[in-house]
């Protein structure tokens, strides 16, 4: 898609945020067409630059940093110096959106809190992301993804009942809270185009984690506070009945979502399943049903089962790893992988934005910036 046609073309984002949560929001804004300038502290820059996954270094940076910060520019400045701060204020005067995810009071100390910035630019959209909100006994706790998973009850939902707490092996709360921040910013940008007014948008990881679990939290309120019980085996959702789960087959694994147990019994030639005609029993007796199903599915290959289940419109799938998936035609046609290039010519592969607008993918070949890479051009362009 040509840059000119992107919906946020012409929008300037000044982004003070680090790590993953809020930077994932500015990545989305960048892919939707906004220009994102990362404000990075001297020496280290965004601390995510040195946070490595599996010791992998891509052209001097961590793969995480590369993935999160492509399609952005870097302006390195010392906010603790008057000169540096004045330059940033000048930049903000020409910006539409400011983003930060500092721990409480840090923004005030650096002189980039909401009241100060609103004083500099009255119609700014000021977006802030915190771990636990700004009130209450938890407000100073560090907002790290896995800790939020642990605090919010999320680790009780995954895995089998006897597995203990199981976190989702992905920074889902960082990414979701960033996505919510992005939603709030976009909604307020729409309002600004109508009314001219700026906005303050606040999201916390804990509140995002709770909304993510809105089904099971609402169930907890509804059922009088019963504990979360996962299935003994093949659990894929603590609050859903059999067959919902992942099962071992003779040569791999198969996922089964919703399905009527006796009908499955017929299709799979598993007579023991015919003993569960009552819909309620699929939940209340799910452990024994899953045991029966689990033993039975081990007797044949995944494809044998799919051949029977798919024509009957049963919701099922084979389990794939990335290698298997990426080799399928169905994946290749999505062109989900794009190549990005850093200013020194280093190329690497990453995923693209998942949103398609007017039959065009939102792609960008711009890689992550080196620390302070754009200082000169930004100072010149914005007369800092």
């Amino acid at each position: 898609m040509n840059k000119i046609n992107k919906p946020l073309d012409g929008i300037l984002v000044v982004d003070f945020s680090q790590y993953l949560s809020a930077p994932s929001a500015s990545l989305r804004l960048a892919d939707l067409g906004a220009r994102v300038i990362k404000i990075e502290q001297p020496e280290t820059g965004d601390l995510c630059r040195d946070l490595y996954f599996s010791n992998l270094v891509i052209n001097g940076q961590s793969s995480m940093f590369q993935a999160i910060n492509r399609n952005k520019q870097s302006y390195q400045v010392n906010l603790k110096s008057d000169e540096g701060r004045e330059k940033v204020y000048k930049l903000i005067k020409q910006a539409d959106i400011v983003i930060q995810n500092f721990r409480p009071d840090v923004a005030e100390r650096l002189g980039i809190d909401f009241d100060t910035i609103k004083g500099i630019k009255s119609d700014i959209i000021y977006a802030e992301l915190s771990g636990y909100g700004k009130e209450g006994v938890w407000k100073n706790k560090p907002g790290l993804d896995m800790l939020l998973q642990a605090v919010s009850g999320l680790t009780q939902l995954n895995g089998n009942q006897n597995a203990g707490p199981v976190p989702i092996g992905l920074a889902v709360i960082d990414i979701l809270s960033g996505a919510h921040l992005c939603q709030g910013v976009l909604a307020c940008l729409h309002r600004k185009l109508n009314t001219g007014e700026g906005a303050r948008v606040e999201v916390s990881m804990l509140e995002s984690a709770l909304e993510y679990q809105f089904e099971s939290v609402t169930a907890f309120f509804r059922d009088g506070g019963e504990p979360t019980i996962r299935a003994k085996s093949n659990s894929a959702h603590a609050y859903l009945g059999a067959p919902y789960g992942i099962y071992q087959t003779k040569n791999g694994y198969i996922a089964l979502a919703m399905g009527q147990i006796p009908f499955l019994g017929e299709l799979l030639s598993c007579d023991a399943l015919l003993n569960y005609p009552e819909v309620e029993s699929w939940f209340t007796q799910r452990d024994e049903i899953k045991d029966i199903l689990g033993d039975h599915l081990k007797t044949k290959d995944t494809q044998d089962w799919l051949n029977v289940l798919e024509p009957a419109d049963i919701w099922c799938a084979e389990i794939m790893d990335w290698k298997t998936l990426f080799d399928t035609e169905a994946f290749k046609i999505l062109k989900m992988i794009q190549e990005v290039e850093m200013s020194d010519g280093y190329k690497s592969k990453t995923t693209r934005c998942p949103i398609e607008i007017n039959n065009e993918y939102l792609t960008s070949e711009i890689g992550a910036p080196f620390l302070g890479e754009h200082n000169n051009s930004i100072e010149k362009e914005f007369s800092l």
Binding site: E135, A179, W322, E356
Partner: protein
Amino acid sequence: MLPLKGITVLEFAQFMAGPSAGLKMADLGARVIKIERPGTGEAGRQIAIKNLFIDESSMVFHTANRNKQSYAANLKDPNDLAKVKQLIAQADVMTHNFRPGVMEKIGLDYDVVSAINPRIIYGVVSGYSAKGPWAKKPGQDLLIQSLSGLVHLTGNADDNPTASGLATSDIFTGVHLVQGILAALIGRHKTGKGAKVEVSLLESTLDIQFEVITTYLNDGNQLPQRAKQGSAHAYIKAPYGIYETKDGHIAIALVPLNELTDAMGIQLPTEFADKATWFDKRDDIMAFLAPILKKENSKHWLDIFEAKDLFCSAVNTYKDLLNHEGYKALKMDQEVETSDGLKMKTTRCPIRIDGERLFSRKSAPKPGEDNTIIEQEFNL
């Protein structure tokens, strides 16, 4: 003023991904009208967890569809379809998640709709996008988690592939749909034109794995290896994980191993002295830490670690969490009430605008509950 005040959304979408997008737009101020089959309404009304129902519709439906109105129309009936087209002419956004070809058959595909209303934003949710050999396969949350590699990231090394135990693909796809729709609304201010916005469960579920897939694409395609015990992230070095204590569990996040062992008052074995080993010898390190952490209660460790600002936490159940002062300060729950006076407690929108939390007492509608008022108001 709520940011989306004045925006009308017609929601043809069913189940979770599309309706969760409608819910977010409703909470941000849009008027969301579900277009539903007369009588039974959308299919998601019958999808229940734990067999929980509020009225004729499930608790899950009520959770994802509060703060909306319902207009019942039979899209196969020419009279009803004509009325829906009049409604479309006056709307800003519509969403659907029919399988490819269905809207063409009904006669409400993007070409038809944009001819009726060139300013409309037309949002589509699919399982695998409209192209390719999987286009017509059923797109369901667990199946997408299973196909997308997500299930290989959670749980321990010897466990089966492990799904996230909630509708992660649906939720993120809905979130991305809102992002695309709102961006298109912003674009419309400049161009005066609407847009077609498409998301799929598969692409959205790949997007949330963007960091780890980027790692995979640049490390010579090494598949993720989960830790042997207490695994919390396949790509992060020790001590990151969940540990059993004498009376429960604690979570330890990004903490330098030497600082952790110092805080625990134990010697860091020389074989783990080099930081480079903290990923490669992760299983050995976690196995070394586990029996020591198990000797004391959670509080013992948390007091020590928190005093040193090491990133760790208690592991809560809903009961622990929802009775805690830290939770109560958020005012995260709200009560909604149906037109019959049935009440349900649920969560609110997680986004605060201009310092205000966004609450709404309005519950999910019955199918067709708002037909009269909508026909009047929109002159149908």
